[in-house]
Amino acid sequence: MFRLDADKPVTLCDGITRRDFLHAGSLSAAALGFGLTLPQMLALEAKAEKPKQEMNCIFLFLLGAPSQMDTWDMKPDAPSEIRGPFKPIITNVAGIQISEIFPRMAKHADKYSIIRSAYHTQAAVHDIGHQMMQTGHLFSPGLEYPNFGSALQYLSKSSADVPAHVLMPRPIGPTGGNLPHGQTAGFLGKRYDPFVLNADPSSPEFHVQDLLPPDYIGAVRSERRKKLRDSVDNAVKVFEGSSEAALMDENFHQAFTMMSSPRAREAFDLSSEPKHIREKYGMNKFGQSCLLARRMVERGVRYVTINMFETVFNEITWDIHGSAPFTPIDAYKSLCGPWFDNGYSSLIEELTERGLYKNTIVVASGEFGRTPKINPAGGRDHWPACWSMIMGGGPIKGGQVVGSSDAIGGYPVDRPVSPQDFAATLYTALGVSLESTMPGPSGRPIPVCDYGSRPVTELLS
């Protein structure tokens, strides 16, 4: 109703978004022209609930699964085959220690909380952890749940000239289970899939390919081309039943919207960042993705997923089985640790400086933990029974440790947090009611959280 240019009338209800108000505001002169008086406008505004601040989220997915004993749940008093090669360091919060591989992060412990009792009870398959940690659900055949970002986009009905939900640098590739990874919109339909960057932002030639037409195609020709194309698209009815064709329509719509939006182009323009800022984040694909995520959130993107790595094979990742094609444990100190420490610390520093941290939740987690005991190859294997994860920003209280694990990091001893509980926490922090449902297959309403999921209330202010 407020959006004069919206495809469908927007009904006035509690779900009205801030953006709709802004939009209505900018068009109020036109609205008056259509017969709404100013007092009527104000009355309409008063009827709607006062909009809350929109929460954003940046999810740093630590693909491969970091070892809790070597990162945020050190066991310095355990035998050497448990405690591993790294030493704990103090942080700026008394009583909280983390691994020496994160020296910068240690200076910001007041800004985030550590959950040391994350666990799941399913098979120790990477893909299964990916699903649960990014959707809050275990998939069944024929029932793929939406990623948190897709659900947020659907439930908040946000529509803007920038994508609501961005995935970068690339989607998760093969990780052994050949199962879905929970990074798509699942049953919500592909129009809620994230915009996938599919490029390495640390590469010198990084840019979003083809964002602008060739320079000899001016506005007039561009318009003419579009009209001719519409005429072809409207000529035949063969695509009525095809969800893929509907998706292509949606893609073209989004492409045209982005092309005409300076804000969207700016969001992807890393070259306008000064060199010292870029270097602070780390000149690697993770660090530059973190910087890009900050630019995006500044320009209206609601949800960003960063895959720190893409596959667990033949790439250095958190998946430290110790032997090829996996990663040896030392790589935490030489690569994984520094990449994460610089990218993450710079991100929360800059979000704070720019006033964005109060409405941007930053999550960092892998798909499970690792075996307390170091294996004969000098690595650690998969262990879903216990791991550590990081949450901060938005309404999430910092400076805390939630839950704890036993003496060797094997099992939670208090406050166990399941992927379902984590999902409930994230949705609550994002302002999504846990009573919300989404239309599943054949329109069946499916709750955003599994029955019995409980948010970690001590994290929420």
Binding site: D210, D233, S242, S442
Partner: protein, 807 residues
């Protein structure tokens, strides 16, 4: 009038039961209980016109002739009470059913439960040995069991001999941890897994009390499972209880409903509880999978779509494909779309078979041809075209991972040559695979030997061979027992040992590698430290001392009749190419717990393929000549929701290579690939390393991992941006010497130019509306057309859905 009356009759038959045809049955039909702990789940089912259609177990009135022999439990289980014979009678409305019930073994000493037949199934059902619990490679909480009980001897040892006998204490069964823990009488990380009063707990107790006997080789093996009802016709909101019986090698039969693991293939249609109660929530067909003791069976739940009964468009088709597709559509009440127009057909069949568009003159000729068999003739010509050979050589190069990162270019070319020649000769698929698996010698002389250069170690070979030729993923079992399937690490290493004696030697010529086999060498199992006898999955082990090439045995088994997954796997790949949805999805995930969407059809097409001598071309002809393939892509009413049963042709985005070649063809400007001859089509590329932004953006496979998932076929925003702004289309429109220049040279007017552009790209003439719009936008229909107008017209056609999709 006659016609409509007939339709009306059909409507009645299909939808509502006719009075008198309905009856009820008690399932299973013959019941025999042995011993006090035996049970039988019963289902009282209403049948309409011979189809199970409603579970009335709770609504029906049931009684037994002699309650001293058997009682009915609240959960629909029969509980034996005394030896003898009696009857069970159920009445529901006016219908009645009776079955005989035999009970024996109640009096006297009860036999002690066996470890394998009785105890392990209880532990498995309770989840004790699941991958997430004690079945994990490292065990849990100090107790390590074999995954889902695959190794009974080891499990017995762990339970009865380790932990100082605290787990099982025959003297005081109630003090055994194996009972205390799952009953939560002492703290248990896994929570309560057994109920105190359940028959499962009774089984564990009786086993301990009976002296906790060890597994015996003589214990009967499970041979097969029966499910009741096998299929049921239901509607959203309905529920259906299933009953499962196992048949054993000693001839005994027993109810195992409480012990099996249930699953569904499509949770959008139905879900199933742990006790086998199915709830239907959507429409379509869904299989309930039943897993017990490594045996799998399925029950079919059919939930027809609402609306009128489908009337088949051309019931004259005698194709086995059409008979079975149509049968399924009728069962599901899905209307089939009419046959596609000639314009649609010629474009579709060219793109799906040869990855190319027909030329302007081919299209005109076909449209003008009035002979009745012109489609069949076109199919026959198309199947032997060189472009078709290119297209399928490319597909098999995807499957076999031809990628110069892993094989020298010279050997890659030679391997490609072998593949292309095989496609050209229409080499039987089993011969093709056998030649690859048993290849030896110089890779330059025997291209197939390149397979062993690309896949160098026995592990990679094991995983690739099973995935590529059987649609079976073995990777998990490399490091530990497969957490989701039945394959163990032992299976994996025995299989890998079949490849243990392959050796590579660098040849004299550039890029040459020799593949040889040694007569000794084995791969040790990592935990046992010693090699296991080489053995194909679930086959007899080979003699490790035998020096014959082990790969011969492997090839015999893979391609042999005893391995149905081999033919199914290739049939499914080809079916998926033409129908966009495999009979099994995902395309390369063939396993008993993932049954095909139309099992009868899969069996029939696979049977046809095997009988034909693994003839790929014949299989393609069977598919292409069917009505099912030739249907319009416009769904009829309710069939809009059908994405699995082939009621209409499922429109899909063109594969990267076909789209690029299609653009080149329609504009008349070929692609340029670095260091390769001009004019080469994308479908003629041999190596996935050939650089192309377009092919990468549209999801060509990288050929790094044997997985159909490597090819990305979904549209995305980056693709849309590239089509609109990128140089693939825009640079070609500006380039000299193509279709646009030809039109200018021929001085065509706007309608003529549109005819040519539309026919080349879309295989159809412009509609009057399109002509009108073009005229309104571009003006002047009679003079010759300017270059800029032609560029914009071409652009609008090449970026349209209709061009980017096959439909």
């Amino acid at each position: 009038m006659r016609g409509s009356a007939l339709l009306f009759m059909m409507a009645i038959c299909g939808l509502a039961p006719i009075a008198g045809v309905a009856d009820i049955k008690i399932l299973p039909g013959n019941i025999s209980l042995h011993g006090r702990s035996d049970r039988q789940q019963i289902v009282i089912e209403r049948f309409d016109a011979g189809r199970a259609s409603r579970d009335v177990t709770r609504q029906a009135h049931s009684s037994v002739g002699n309650p001293a022999i058997v009682k009915i439990g609240t959960d629909g289980c029969l509980i034996p009470a005394g030896d003898g014979d009696t009857t069970l009678t159920a009445t529901f409305g006016k219908q009645m059913a009776t079955v005989r019930v035999h009970v024996d073994g109640i009096r006297g000493v009860q036999p002690v439960p066996g470890f394998k037949r009785d105890l392990l199934p209880v532990l498995t059902r309770a989840g004790c040995n699941a991958g997430a619990c004690h079945g994990a490679a490292a065990g849990k909480g100090g107790l390590r069991l074999s995954l889902r009980g695959y190794d009974p001897d080891a499990d017995y040892d762990v339970l009865c001999r380790q932990a100082r006998g605290r787990r099982v204490t025959p003297g005081s069964p109630e003090q055994s941890l194996v009972l205390l823990k799952p009953l939560m009488e002492v703290p248990h990380g896994g929570g309560e897994r057994l109920k105190a009063q359940s028959p499962e707990t009774a089984t564990v107790r009786a086993w301990i009390k009976g002296g906790a006997p060890a597994p015996k080789p003589a214990e009967p093996e499970t041979l097969l499972l029966e499910v009741f009802p096998e299929s049921a016709w239901m509607h959203p909101g309905d529920k259906q209880q299933l009953a499962i019986r196992a048949h054993y090698s000693d001839g005994s039969v027993r109810d195992v409903t409480r012990l099996v693991k249930f699953g569904v293939t499509d949770a959008a249609i139905a879900t199933v509880s742990d006790s086998g109660n199915v709830s239907v929530s959507g429409r379509g067909e869904c299989a309930v999978t039943v897993w017990y003791a490594s045996k799998v069976t399925t029950a079919r739940i059919v939930s027809p779509f609402p609306g009128a009964v489908p009337v088949q468009p051309t019931s004259t088709s005698t194709s086995l494909v059409d008979k079975l597709v149509n049968k399924k559509l009728q069962e599901l009440n899905l209307p089939a779309s009419p046959i596609a127009s000639d314009n649609e057909f010629i474009r579709r069949v060219f793109l799906d078979t040869a990855g190319m568009l027909p030329t302007l003159s081919e299209t005109k000729q076909f449209l003008a041809d009035t002979s009745a068999d012109k489609r069949a003739k076109l199919i026959d010509q198309l199947l032997v075209r060189p472009e078709t050979v290119d297209y399928w050589a490319y597909r098999w190069s995807d499957l076999l991972l031809l990628n110069s990162k892993t094989i020298p270019a010279e050997s890659l070319n030679s391997f490609y040559g072998f593949i292309r020649k095989s496609v050209q000769e229409n080499k039987p698929w089993d011969t093709f695979v056998r030649e690859i698996l048993t290849a030896t010698g110089s890779t330059l002389e025997n291209g197939a030997a390149g397979f062993y250069v690309i896949h160098k170690d026995p592990f990679d070979l094991t995983e690739t061979t099973t995935q590529a030729f059987m649609g079976l993923s073995m990777m998990c079992a490399h490091c530990h027992n497969h957490p989701l399937e039945r394959w163990t690490q032992k299976d994996y290493y025995q299989m890998a040992n079949l490849f243990a004696r392959v050796r590579l030697k660098t040849g004299d010529k550039p890029g040459e590698v020799f593949v040889l086999t040694a007569d000794r060498g084995d791969i040790p199992h990592p935990r046992l430290g010693t090699p296991l006898a080489p053995r194909a999955l679930e086959q007899k082990p080979l003699n490790p001392e035998d020096t014959a090439d082990r790969r011969l045995a492997l090839a015999n088994w893979i391609t042999g009749a005893g391995n149905p997954a081999f033919a199914r796997s290739i049939v499914n790949r080809i079916w998926k190419n033409y129908f966009a949805r495999g009979l099994v999805e995902k395309e390369d995930d063939i396993r008993a717990t993932n049954p095909p969407v139309n099992g009868e059809l899969m069996d029939a097409v696979t049977g046809y393929f095997v009988t034909s001598g693994y003839d790929i071309r014949k299989l393609m002809r069977l598919i292409l000549t069917s009505d099912a393939y030739q249907r319009s892509s416009i769904p009829v009413s309710a069939a809009r929701q059908d994405e699995r049963q082939y009621s209409h042709y499922f429109a899909r985005r063109l594969p990267a290579e076909a789209l690029l070649d299609g653009i080149s063809q329609a504009v008349g400007i070929p692609s340029e690939f670095k260091d390769l001859p001009a004019g080469l089509h994308a479908s003629q590329l041999k190596d996935s390393q050939t650089a192309s932004y377009f092919l990468t953006a549209f999801g060509r496979p990288l050929r790094e991992k044997t997985c159909a998932c490597e090819r990305q076929s979904e549209p995305n925003v980056a693709q849309a941006l590239h089509l609109v702004n990128g140089d693939t289309i825009n640079a070609r429109l500006k380039a000299p010497g193509g279709v646009i220049d030809a039109i200018i040279k021929a001085k065509l007017n706007l309608p003529e130019a549109m005819d040519q552009l539309y026919l080349s790209a879309l295989c159809r003439y412009p509609t009057p509306a399109e002509r009108k719009t073009a005229e309104a936008i571009l003006g002047n229909m009679n003079g010759s057309v300017s270059r800029i107008v032609l560029e914009d017209l071409s652009w609008s056609v090449l970026t349209s859905r209709e061009f980017v999709f096959n439909h």
